[in-house]
């Protein structure tokens, strides 16, 4: 039945064509590296000249000293022999091969020149080794190697600035998807971690400040295959600088930037249209979603967690009552605003006295039992431990749980090392800013359709989300299946093009198995995109049209079966209309009694082209 070569062809043809944009501004990035190498050459001048002078003096001197030949006659050794002798003596090899025995005068000169030349060699080799150890020289070499590696990339890659916790999670996800990355990070430890990490592809990494446009350029910002820029360093200023550089030098590239500060986000938006991810802001929104629609929240976290993720549990947070928020920093403010917008009462505990006095703010250290008691936890329904200190957060949570075991506990985890402790606390909601960033960026960059789905999903309500989760579980198991998109155009779906134009292709028929059309493929269509309009979970009756884009969830084997339907004419005819048409073009020409022959014959040219 299906020709494996065709499936191959479809797999490779499916890749999105890369827009080759010529770089607008070219930054000379190698000048820094070459200047260091010139500096090294300059520094080697003195040792090398010393060596040449010492050699010349020793060799000439040895030939000038009169010696005695084998026949007892006075004889001088030649310049060549003297040079040969000095070469093996000065380099401390010491063959001891002489044309004839030296006279005392010659021995005196040789003694002198041995000391001289050994010092010369030691000086020259010592200088060279020092230079090789030199930090700036090694950095220059590393930069050159990195620049060459990036320049040789011949596939679309993402430029990842900042390989922290979030960067690492993302790199793992994208590597699993086969997406090439280029990493730039300030810390050499992190770049070493990149080398040690077990990735499928070879990810070039550079230790450098990403805020420097030269470094970004070396990392491939003006490379025609650069497909996007991710600014995920821990410093807002650096992220702003990266966003700025990318927007000014490559306005055509998508930029995703992380920040925890609203003013910085504003400044980022001043440059082009970057996607700004604020983990605190997102956590507040997620918390609100979790309160209003637990199933939607469960679906959201599952889809964002990347391929192979386990289905997270569904929380049952209290929908009314009073919340207590400890820590009124940037995080606390975002969460408070979101909770208040959701119509909930909020009591705030803040250790430091602030200028403005707000209602419901208790000033004091929340880790002290006395202060917690003032917040009257017994009558509260939820507690958010949101300070930037993990120890404080943990002790607060433990105290709160003792006071009121029914509390819904949410917390912010600051350091990755505390992960085990927070897990042991068995919290109802946990914010790990780096993970939020990683999941968010993954959802936005991996497939734009997934992001569209996530944005439109909350509007569909909780029951719909619960049904969809059930459907996904029935079809694909508890692990998140691969998400992939199909565009029904001449390239990805050549076999059904004619029927699409006639409006005869129904989604429910398309997802039948090529082995046995009575069996449905275990895939779930998540989204149908037509002319910019999105339809979530299109049903089996949906009539498909040309250039429709579909986002499917399903295992790889099911995906391959669907792809063979889209590419192979005979499979498509069987799957869609239960008709058997010959696979070869000649037999198809001969058997004209088939009612669908007209549609097939119309595309005869393209079909033979694929074979």
């Amino acid at each position: 039945m299906s020709n494996p070569l065709l499936v191959f062809w479809a797999l490779f043809g499916r890749r999105d064509p890369v827009s080759r944009v010529p770089s607008r501004v070219h930054i000379e990035s190698s000048s820094q590296a070459s200047s260091t190498i010139f500096l090294v050459m300059r520094r080697m001048r003195t040792p090398l000249i010393t060596l040449i002078v010492i050699f010349s003096i020793s060799a000439v001197g040895l030939t000038l000293i009169p010696g005695v030949g084998p026949d007892g006659q006075a004889a001088r050794i030649s310049l060549f022999e003297s040079f040969y002798f000095m070469s093996y003596t000065a380099t401390t090899i010491g063959f001891g091969e002489l044309p004839w025995p030296f006279t005392p005068a010659q021995r005196l000169w040789v003694t002198f020149s041995i000391y001289l030349s050994v010092i010369g060699w030691a000086y020259a080799i010592g200088s060279l080794l020092t230079l090789l150890q030199d930090r700036s020289f090694r950095q220059a070499l590393a930069l050159r190697r990195f620049t060459r590696k990036v320049a040789r990339l011949r596939e679309p890659f993402l430029l990842l600035a900042g390989y922290g916790r979030a960067g690492e999670l993302l790199a793992k996800d994208f590597d699993a998807l086969g997406q090439q990355l280029v990493v730039i990070d300030e810390s050499s430890d992190r770049v070493d971690a990149l080398d040690l990490g077990s990735y499928h592809s070879d990810i070039p990494g550079l230790v450098a400040d990403a805020a420097d446009p030269h470094h970004l350029s070396a990392a491939g910002l003006d490379h025609p295959f650069c497909a996007g820029v991710l600014a995920l360093t821990n410093h807002d200023e650096t992220n702003l600088a990266v966003t700025m550089t990318a927007a000014l030098l490559r306005p055509d590239l998508p930029v995703v930037s992380r920040t925890v500060s609203a003013p910085i986000a504003e400044r980022m938006h001043a440059f082009g249209t970057p996607t700004v991810v604020n983990p605190f802001d997102r956590f507040g929104e997620h918390l609100r979603l979790a309160l209003n629609a637990p199933a939607s929240y469960q679906l959201l976290t599952w889809l964002e967690a990347g391929p192979g993720a386990e289905l997270p549990g569904r929380g049952r947070p209290p929908t009314e009552g009073r919340w207590v928020i400890c820590g009124y920093g940037r995080f606390g403010r975002e969460v408070t605003a979101d909770l208040r917008a959701g119509g909930l009462d909020v009591t705030i505990i803040e250790p430091a006295e602030r200028g403005e006095s707000e209602s419901g703010v208790i000033v004091g250290d929340a880790s002290e039992p006395r202060v917690l008691a003032r917040a009257d936890l017994a009558s509260a329904v939820g507690l958010v431990a949101g300070t930037d200190n993990d120890t404080t957060n943990l002790s607060m949570l433990a105290a709160a749980r003792r006071l009121n075991p029914q509390l819904f506990l949410a917390a912010r985890q600051n350091r990755p090392t505390s992960a085990a402790l927070f897990e042991a606390m068995r919290l109802d909601a946990l914010l790990v800013p780096t993970e939020v960033v990683a999941h968010e960026v993954y959802a936005q960059i991996s497939t734009p359709m997934l992001w569209r789905f996530i944005q439109e999903m909350p509007a569909r309500g909780d029951q719909w989300a619960a049904d969809l989760i059930q459907r996904l579980r029935d079809n694909c198991g508890r692990q998140l299946p691969a998400l992939w998109k199909v565009k029904l155009d001449g390239e990805q779906a050549p076999a059904i093009g004619g029927w699409l134009a006639e409006g005869r292709v129904v989604l429910g028929d398309l997802v039948r198995s090529p082995e046995d059309r009575e069996r449905r493929l275990r895939v779930v269509p998540l989204l149908l995109l037509r002319d910019g309009q999105a339809v979530l979970t299109p049903d089996g009756e949906t009539v498909l049209a040309r250039d429709d884009e579909l986002l499917f969830a399903g295992q790889g084997s099911e995906r391959r079966e669907l792809e063979s339907t889209l590419v192979v004419d005979s499979t498509a005819a069987y799957v869609l209309f239960d008709q058997h048409i010959p696979s070869s073009w000649i037999w198809r020409k001969l058997s004209r009694k088939n009612p669908t022959t007209s549609a097939v014959a119309d595309r005869g040219g393209t079909t033979t082209h694929h074979r």
Partner: protein, 128 residues
């Protein structure tokens, strides 16, 4: 006055003069070509080459190239001399002397280009 420029000019010029001193004379007569002069020319030429390391300007690059050519020619001349004197049965004869001297003549040309470059650089140098 820049001491670095003095040393640089000294060695470039000395390489050319030594080379010229060895080259001048009947091309096939070993008596008028002193081997020590060839050795000195080679050593000074090597020093001049090292002095030209690490100059990033265009003229610096040409300087280095001429010096490398001179070194190559002089090393070849020395090897021919050694072969003739130590290895071949005939010793230093008119033919081998001619080879050595003509090779050093090539080096002389490269050294002259070096000197011309040096002079050009000095003449076109404008202060301020």
């Amino acid at each position: 006055m820049n001491l670095e420029k003095v040393i640089f000019g000294f060695f470039v010029l000395l390489a050319a003069t030594l080379n010229f001193g060895f080259f001048i004379g009947d091309i096939a007569n070993p008596a008028v070509h002193n081997i020590y002069e060839l050795f000195a020319a080679l050593a000074v030429s090597l020093i001049a080459t090292v002095l030209k390391f690490g100059d990033r300007t265009q003229i610096g690059a040409v300087h280095l190239a001429t010096s490398l050519v001179a070194d190559l020619q002089l090393v070849a001349a020395s090897v021919v001399w050694i072969w003739a004197e130590e290895i071949s049965a005939d010793g230093i004869d008119a033919g081998s002397t001619a080879s050595v001297v003509s090779l050093s003549g090539g080096a002389l040309l490269a050294n002259l280009v070096s000197v011309v470059l040096l002079v050009t650089e000095t003449v076109t140098f404008h202060r301020g």
